[in-house]
């Protein structure tokens, strides 16, 4: 077997390999997965439990895992939305918030909170901490892993809560759900929008790019690699390879042996990454509405640029932060206005698959 290509564009996905080379590859991935789990075990010492209500978790509950820093603005809506969808318990790692996020979380009866002041970047952007919590509490549950600026929607979400979705996925033998991160933005400069904590962010972030997503598959883990959207168009038009990865696998029926490899973009073992059909059909998938471009992003970008905790190679992304700080307008005449999941499905950004 020759070396696998880094990524395969549309129509060029090779069949999974067989024979000794594939076995060797599988062995390497197994070692990698164990290494990730070992890291998570080591880094659990960085976490201090502020309030541990995990004893309230019942078998079959849907759990939500979050790692955040200074998100008091977004948290109330985030918790409400996903609570409404049927998340029964939130397990949150607070990375040294200073805006009251921690006390806000502590007051919720369905939140267990851990705190750490250690480096986000050194903990694989928080994934080591979450991997430990998932290993400890997630086994056997459907686990939703989110960033604080992500809101999960999926076909029929208003009428069918998450347990209906996970029941459907269970019956389909689909252990994980794919979702596209969809950048939402306001119609003018970012700083112009007004948003109070608890407001539905989609009321001011009403626009998105409807059809400029580049899809590839990375054959080693057979995970998708989708880039594009408003950020690629506005900030990475000259360096598209560096544009943010938009595909995620936020919802997984967890087993303690599993591990996210790279944010929630890909997992090990690799079969969990197969959230797409290769036979021409469509599997059920969702969208993570990305509320990054609320007005606070401008100050935050200045801060993050200085902290350098968000990208493996921070210097490469300096110009990205600079453009964000300059209060850009992401809206264009070709932008689509968000009206709901049916629109996203019609545009092909998500699919109900066979779930009617």
């Amino acid at each position: 077997m020759g070396r696998l290509p880094h990524a395969c564009p549309v129509g060029e996905l090779p069949d999974p390999g067989r024979g000794p080379a594939a076995l060797w590859q599988a062995l390497r991935l197994r070692i990698r997965r164990r290494t990730l789990l070992a890291r998570a075990l080591r880094r659990r010492r960085q976490l201090t439990a502020l309030c541990d209500r995990t004893a309230a978790i019942r078998p079959g509950d849907i759990l939500c895992f979050l790692c955040l820093r200074n998100e008091a603005q977004r948290l109330p809506f985030l918790l409400d939305h996903h609570r409404g969808l049927g998340v029964r318990h939130f397990l949150v790692v607070d990375n040294a918030s200073s805006d009251g996020s921690d006390s806000l979380l502590r007051d919720q009866t369905d939140v267990s909170l851990w705190q750490t002041g250690a480096s986000y970047k050194a903990a694989r952007f928080g994934m080591d901490w979450l991997t430990w919590l998932m290993l400890r509490h997630g086994h056997g549950h459907w686990c939703l892993t989110l960033d604080a600026d992500e809101i999960l929607v999926y076909p029929h979400w208003q009428t069918r809560p998450l347990p209906a979705l996970t029941d459907w996925l269970d019956r389909q033998g689909q252990p994980s759900l794919g979702a596209l991160t969809l950048d939402l933005y306001p119609d003018g400069p970012i700083s112009q929008a007004r948003h109070a904590a608890g407001d539905d962010p989609t009321r001011i972030l009403r626009w998105f790019d409807g059809g400029n997503y580049q899809v590839q598959v990375q054959p080693r883990l057979r995970n998708l690699w989708i880039q594009g959207g408003a950020r690629a168009r506005a900030f990475f038009a000259e360096a598209p390879r560096r544009a943010p990865t938009l595909n995620k696998i936020p919802l997984v029926r967890w087993h303690w042996r599993y591990a996210y490899v790279n944010s929630t973009h890909a997992l090990l073992p690799p079969r969990l990454n197969q959230v797409y059909a290769t036979d021409g059909g469509e599997l059920t998938s969702g969208v993570l509405l990305h509320t990054k471009f609320l007005p606070g992003i401008i100050d935050r970008s200045a801060e993050e640029k200085a902290r350098g905790e968000h990208f493996a190679d921070g210097a490469q992304y300096a110009s990205y932060y600079d453009r964000l700080i300059r209060d850009p307008v992401l809206h264009s005449p070709a932008s689509s206005r968000y009206t709901g999941w049916r629109q996203l499905e019609a545009l092909g950004l998500m699919s109900r698959g066979g779930w009617v």
Partner: protein, 560 residues
Amino acid sequence: MSFGVVMLCHTALDRAAQVARHWAANGCPVVIHLDRRVPEAQRAALAAALSDLPDVRFSARVPCEWGTFSLVQATNIAATQLLASFPQVGHVLLASGACLPIRPVAELQAHLGAHPDTDFIESVTTADVGWTIGGLNKERFTLRFPFSWKKQRRLFDRYVVLQRRLGVQRRIPAGLVPHLGSQWWCLTRRSLQAILSHPDRPRLDRYFRRVWIPDESYFQTLVRQVSTRIESRSLTLCKFDFQGRPHVFYDDHLHLLRQSDAFVARKIWPQADLLYRTFLTELPERRAAPNPAKIDRLFAKAVERRTRGRPGLFMQSRFPTRARGGNRAAATYGVFQGFAQLFPDFHPWLARATGARVHGHLFAPDRVEFAENERVFTGGLSNSAALRDYNPGSFLTNLVWNTRGETQCFQFGPADVQDVTRFIAGDSNARVFIISGAFAVPLWRSARPAAAVRAEAARLQKIEADLIARLDHPEAKANVRIWSLAEFVENPAEPLMQLLDDLNPRGSHRDVDLPPMIPLLGFGAFLQDLRNQGMHPVLMGDFPIDFGSKSAPSPLLRLK
């Protein structure tokens, strides 16, 4: 005469209790068979919840596993008890704990009252069923199935293959004609009694014990021996996905279920409060006009979405391999090479004649030349060349997907970025039109000496020849028409009409002006010059040196 209900329950017992209460309150006795594997605490809770209803009874329990004879056994036990305990029962309806009556019980009573001798059971000969999954129809009756389909799938499949290869077959008992059908039926007391007290029943049961999914064949087969009148349709609405698993109905299906002509629906999601609340309390006049075809269509579309998807869409849950449509855009699109070089007004002409969106060179090296020079095109496609070249296949499929309903046309040429040609050549939706050698016309018109443009001409010719070779490859699927420049200028009207036909086969464009072509007087000499410089211009065809001097075809010719 009333009817009685046999309910097979194993989960969501609170819902089962609610429905049993509904049946009983409307005068229908119920016998519940509870899966033996249900824990005692849950059984006790169910029994307590229904203890005030004398007409709801519990049968003896057997452990039930899907696909095995235990389900038939459970049905037989409960049905025997029902017939014995409630002599007034005329029909017996078989339901599960996840079934919900979607029409008033009185309507079902009236329906059965009007057909006192009819057995409502779907019963189709094995030769005629089209819906079984995995290709096992007749073989359900002739092979052996010792392994569990759910837990030992591999062994199950291999053993089936092995038996087929060895040609071993079980003998179907004499007089039995295998029939299949939905497991949810409504039989008359007479037929059901005849099946349950069949003189040969021990032998038949022994045989059906080894049949696969006997609950879909036991009653369906035996009823053919005892019934006087069969209506082969189930009174229970039950839809299956492409793997043969039943669909679940949710609250948002309320309107749909109201349009069903069935009396009972299966399966209902236990948390579908709205459905349970509505159908267990609703008054009959709220019903919409029955439209069962609409329900069929919706679920047929769901199967299609899951198995065939939307062609030309590439996204997070659809990424087909090449063989399964991975190299296909959503609709036909036109690729034009060499036309704009000959016709200065080609864009507006093509847009007028076809009604298509006509772009410039979408794959120009410096930027994407969208129609109207837009900087951001439909769907947010950027005119950045770097973004486009990062994944040209995605760029093109996105463009075609975003503009479904409007044909896209664009110019292409050997000076453009060529990476996308691999995709275009493999795409059966591509309509590629090439005037080979036309790339030399702008070189000639630049009025630079042949010696200066020789190298450029040779480079472009090489690129164009590679493209033509790629399009000619036996595995290429694009619809391609190539004219050499010499061939084309001899009679430009014919190819132009041809391409309009190809792009819009049903259009009527018989009365279109041809675009004015630039005069080519002197181009032949230019080619000769190139030859003299040592280049070998072949793609233009046999272009006459004196072309245009006297008998050039009039490009303004109007077709009749």
